[in-house]
């Protein structure tokens, strides 16, 4: 369960006080009537769904009731930064491109899971045959 820093309350709060509201920075077209059906459909339904860095809109629903943005890794679930409405992220997939390659991120595999031969645990072992 996430521990989220609310940029308005200026402290970490439990995830249960917040609601996720989808992708951040979705701008409503300024002149909807001039939008093509495709453009309008894209605005309504088509979202980034990255495996990695994602900018999300959240609301501190049981708290200050303010909406704000979270930059979060959708695999490790690490929260890289939270910032207020109207602000832009300082951390993005691009800015992290070098070090935040997915392979470096620890992935929970769920269930009783197995990490295949591609896993880094191999490189760290001397591969002792038994």
């Amino acid at each position: 369960m996430f521990n989220i820093y609310c940029p308005y309350c200026e402290e970490h709060r439990e995830e249960e006080e917040f609601h996720p509201k989808g992708q951040a920075h979705i701008q409503r077209p300024t002149d909807p009537d001039a939008c093509s059906d495709k453009a309008w459909g894209d605005y309504l339904f088509f979202r980034d769904n990255p495996r990695g860095i994602h900018h999300e809109l959240w609301v501190h629903a049981v708290g200050c009731r303010k909406f704000f943005n979270i930059t979060r890794h959708t695999v490790s679930y690490a929260i890289l930064e939270t910032y207020k409405m109207g602000e832009q992220p300082t951390i993005t997939a691009e800015s992290l491109a070098s070090e935040e390659k997915q392979g470096d991120v620890q992935v929970a595999d769920g269930g009783l899971q197995t990490v295949g031969a591609s896993d880094n645990s191999v490189s760290e072992s001397k591969g002792a045959k038994v």
Binding site: F45, F46, D48, T74, G110, S118
Partner: protein, 416 residues
Amino acid sequence: MQRYSGFGLVKHALSHHENWQRQWRNPTPKKEYDVIIVGGGGHGLATAYYLAKEHGITNVAVIEKGWLGGGNTARNTTIVRSNYLWDESAALYEHAMKLWEGLSQDINYNVMFSQRGVLNLGHTLQDMRDIQRRVNANRLNGIDGEVLDARGVQELVPIMDCSKRARYPVMGASWQPRAGVARHDAVAWGYARGADGHGVDLLQQTEVTGFKIVDGRVVGVHTNRGDIGAKTVGCVTAGNSSVLANMAGFNLPLESHPLQALVSEPLKPILDTVVMSNHVHGYISQSDKGDLVIGAGIDGYNGYGQRGSYPTVEHTLQAIVEMFPIFSRVRMNRQWGGIVDTCPDACPILSKTPVKGLYFNCGWGTGGFKATPGSGHAFAWSLAKGQMHPLAAPFSIDRFHSGALIDEHGAAGVAH
């Protein structure tokens, strides 16, 4: 291919099980295939199986980055039903249901399809209106089902609290007798063995890293084992569909969410049907091994971590204990999560894409397992014929621009 039977089992026992054949080969990739299926889960393997069996297209590869059936196939709670509200989805899921009913014999692999019936409970007047509407629609679509009152529910599930004491007393339920559960791993393995038997190459530990696209038409895929050519490519990668779509240069109206499930310790048989409640928000069945298999809704945020947030599990068990107070002393053994690709209208996408020859089958959200045979069957038809199967046509990506959504949130309210 070695046929399985009780007699065969005895024969093998006498030879100390030394002569079992591989259930599928571990081939090296060819240069090119007629069709490449990306994703070795239930839907992908079923697609490959029907391509070979029904359409004679056997020069096919299934490319899986991990191990066969290791994604949502291995993680779902195995409920199979077809009592969906809208004609389009009802038709697709009922198509699957009919295939389920002969699947074990068709693929000579016991998928343990157990038609023990599914109850969808109603706790409010609106729940009951929706149930009536759905069951009436199912009946006129030729899908079995009836509406039960609280007494009828109590008779079917004596251990459930159907009293007025409950916070949200049970007012009734929809009941689909032909629905039930199946053994998830067996579905993947059975289709895999069947497809392999028809000559399909199953390439595990092989990850697609990109698509080869020439003048807007797909001609192959890049993988960690080199490039592989293909005339047609079908992506059946559930939670990772958006990632692959981006590789091909377009976006999908999908969000990948964590969907959690849990099992109790194994118990002696006590629950003989599947019970689902949208309102109290949980569902439960008992596996043949004796575990109570339990789940509920998705987590609200996007997540590829195959784990979700703890409160979701708490609320799920609150719902289960509310419905079944006698389970308070039963223990939760294990909890896990899958990655479900959800659509705005809680319906799947089976569709052509902006890239010629590249097809996507995704967006099944929480309802994918039950559709496995139907999805694979209709998708194979579409890949073979180069046009979408009539049952698949309504599920095109275009609906998100035309507005012709098929809103199944009612039927999909609880993960299932």
